[in-house]
C-alpha cells in the first residue's frame, strides 16, 4: 500500500524546504489570503470564548428552569432577551450552553490531536528512521488501524471503557494517530537519505541528535498542518459519537452533545439543535481555512 502513502504525500503534505524565519512574510501572506484571515479570526474568537467561557456565559449550563422550557430565540414570538438564543427542553439557556460547550469541544479537539500526534510522531520517527523489522511491524499496525473505520473503533472502545471526557480524548487520539505516523515516516525516510544527514552520521552524531537536529525541524510544519485540520475532524467525530450515545455525557456539555440531543426537536424547536450545529460548522470552517492557508504557506508547490 505504498501508493497510498505516495499519493497522500503528493496530495496532502508536500515536502518543503528548510525552515526560515518568515514572521513578517507570514503576516503579509495572511493578509493576502482572505480565507486565511477569516479562518484565523474565527479560530481566535472560539479560543477566546472557550477560555473566558465561565465569565461570558449569562447562566450556568446546568441551570434548569422548567417554567421556561423550549423558549424560542429573542426575535421570535415568545422569545425574550433573557434567553437570546432560546432555551432547551429543560429550560437551560442555549447560548450559555454553547459558550460553555466550546470549552469541551475545543478541549476534545485539541487534546485528542495532541495524543494522536504524539503517538504518530513517535511511531513514525521510529519506523522511518530505524527501518527494518521495526518499520515492518509498525507499518502493519498502521495497516490494521486503517482497515477498521475510526468511528467503529471508537464505538467499540468506548462501549468497553465507558464514555467520559478523558476516555473520549484518549480514544479519539488512539484511533487517529495513523495519519501522523504515515506522514512522519515518509518524511523521515526522505530526509534520512540527504547528504547532510549522512555526513552527520559519518562524524558519529547520535541518533537522538540527528532526529532532533535534522529530522524533527523538517517534519514539524507538515505536522502542524495535519494537526490543525484534524482538530476539525475530531470535533465532528465527537458529535457522531454523541449521536451513537457514547459521546460527552451530561452534565458536561459539548456542541456535539447539544446537536445530538437537539435532533429530536428539529421539527418543533429548531433552535435547540441549530445553534450548536452552526457553532460546529463555523468553527470547522475556520479551522479548515486556517489549515489550508498554513498548507499553502508552508508548501511552495501549490503557491500561486
Amino acid at each position: 500500500m505504498n501508493a497510498n502513502t505516495q499519493v497522500e504525500q503528493n496530495m496532502d503534505v508536500k515536502p518543503h524546504h528548510k525552515e526560515q524565519s518568515r514572521v513578517s512574510k507570514v503576516f503579509k501572506q495572511l493578509w493576502k489570503s482572505k480565507t486565511g484571515t477569516v479562518g484565523l479570526v474565527i479560530v481566535l474568537c472560539v479560543i477566546l470564548m472557550a477560555v473566558f467561557a465561565d465569565i461570558i456565559a449569562p447562566y450556568d449550563h446546568t441551570e434548569t428552569n422548567v417554567s421556561a422550557r423550549l423558549l424560542p430565540p429573542f426575535w421570535m414570538e415568545g422569545g425574550s432577551f433573557n434567553y437570546i438564543l432560546g432555551t432547551d427542553n429543560l429550560g437551560r439557556d442555549v447560548l450559555s450552553r454553547i459558550i460553555i460547550g466550546s470549552k469541551v469541544s475545543l478541549l476534545v479537539g485539541i487534546a485528542s490531536v495532541i495524543v494522536a500526534g504524539a503517538i504518530g510522531l513517535f511511531l513514525g520517527l521510529v519506523s522511518g528512521y530505524y527501518g527494518k523489522w521495526i518499520d515492518q511491524v509498525i507499518m502493519r499496525l498502521v495497516d490494521s488501524f486503517l482497515a477498521i473505520p475510526n468511528i467503529l473503533f471508537m464505538l467499540i472502545i468506548l462501549a468497553v471503557i465507558g464514555p467520559s471526557l478523558t476516555s473520549i480524548i484518549i480514544v479519539l487520539g488512539v484511533t487517529t494517530w495513523v495519519i501522523y505516523a504515515r506522514m512522519v515516516r515518509s518524511e523521515t525516510l526522505s530526509i534520512k537519505e540527504r547528504d547532510y544527514v549522512k555526513s552527520a552520521r559519518a562524524i558519529g552524531a547520535s541518533d537522538y541528535r540527528i532526529i532532533k537536529k535534522y529530522i524533527l525541524p523538517n517534519v514539524v510544519s507538515s505536522f502542524i498542518v495535519i494537526a490543525t485540520l484534524n482538530v476539525a475532524t475530531t470535533i465532528i467525530l465527537e458529535s457522531s459519537l454523541s449521536f451513537l450515545g457514547l459521546g460527552i455525557q451530561s452534565p458536561d456539555v459539548s456542541w456535539g452533545l447539544m446537536l445530538s440531543d437537539g435532533r429530536d426537536y428539529l421539527a418543533t424547536s429548531w433552535w435547540v439543535a441549530t445553534f450548536p450545529g452552526l457553532a460546529i460548522t463555523i468553527t470547522v470552517l475556520g479551522i479548515i481555512f486556517l489549515g489550508d492557508w498554513l498548507r499553502d504557506m508552508l508548501d511552495p508547490k501549490t503557491k500561486s
Binding site: M1, N2, A3, N4, Q6, V7, E8, N10, M11, T35, R140, L141, D143, S144, L146, A147, I148, P149, N150, I151, L152, L155, I156, I157, A159, V160, I161, A232, I236, S239, S240, F243, L244, G245, G256, L259, S260, R263, L266, A267, A273, G277, I280, T281, V284, L285, I288, F289, K301, T302, S304
Partner: protein
Amino acid sequence: MRYFLSSILKVIPVLLMISFIVFFLVRLTGDPVSLMLPETATDQQREDLRQSLGLNDPIYIQYFTYMADVIQGDFGESFRYNQPAIDIVLERLPASFTLAISSMIIATIIAVPAGIYSAIKRNTFADLIITGSSVLGKAMPNFWLGIMLILILAVQFSIFPVSGSGTIAHLVLPSITLGTAIAAEMTRLIRSSMLEVLGSEYIRTARSKGLRETIVVNKHALRNALIPVVTIMALQTATLIGGTLITETVFSWPGMGQLLVQAVNARDMAVVQAATFIIAILVILSNLTADLTYRFLDPRIKYED
C-alpha cells in the same frame, strides 16, 4: 507479480493484529451477561449463563479457542439472534454494498466535475463557492444532514420515502447523506491533484505549443489528475463504511452499519468481531485493488521494497 505476492503476504500479519485487537477490545467489554438478562434476574441466573457461555475460562484460552474457530470461518454464535455471527453479517453485506456504491456514485458525480472546475477556475468566485461548499459538506455531521433531508424532502415535500428499504427511491436520501462527506473530501483532493498537474512541466509545454485549453485539460491534465483519484476512492472505503453506521441508523437501512451499532449496544460480541473482521478484509482488499490498478494505469510509478 512479485509485488502482488508480497502485498498479499503483508495482509496476513495485518489480519492477525486485527483479530488480536478486536478480540481483546471486545472481551474487555465487561460482563455481557448482565446485558442479556433483564433487570430482575437473580444472581444465580447470571452465574449459570456465564458458565454456559464459557466466560469463566482464562482470557488467553478464550482467545485461542476463538482463533481456532475463526480460521474455520466460525465466529461464534450471536447472543442476540442465536445464529452463527458470520451468517448474520454476510446477510447484511448486500444492503450495505448497495448503499455504499450508490453513495460513491453520487459522490463521484458531484466531486469530479466540481474538483476539476474549481482547479481550472482557481481563485475565482466559482472556486470559492465550490471550496466553501466542500468545507460545509465536511463540517456537517452525517446524522444531522440525514434528519434534515428527511424533514425537508420526505415530510415537507413527500418526494422520497422516509426510511426503510425495498425500492430505488428508498436509496436516494441515505445515499445523499452518506455521499456528501465523501464528495466534499474528494472535491478537495481532486482540486489539489488537478492544480498540481496543471502546474507541471508537460502541461506548460503543451500550452506553450499553443494547444487549446480544453484539449490541454481534457487530454493531458485530466488523465493524470484522475489516476490518484482511484486511490483516494479506495482510501475512502473505511470512511464510507464508518459512515454507514450512522446513516443506516438514521434511515433504518438494514445493512451492516446498523447491525454493528445494535450489536455494540447489546454487547453481541460475536457479531461485532465478525463484522469488524469482514470490514477489515474488505478495506484491505479495496486498498490492494486500488494499489494494483494504480500501478497498472501508471507504469511510471516505482515501488519501494
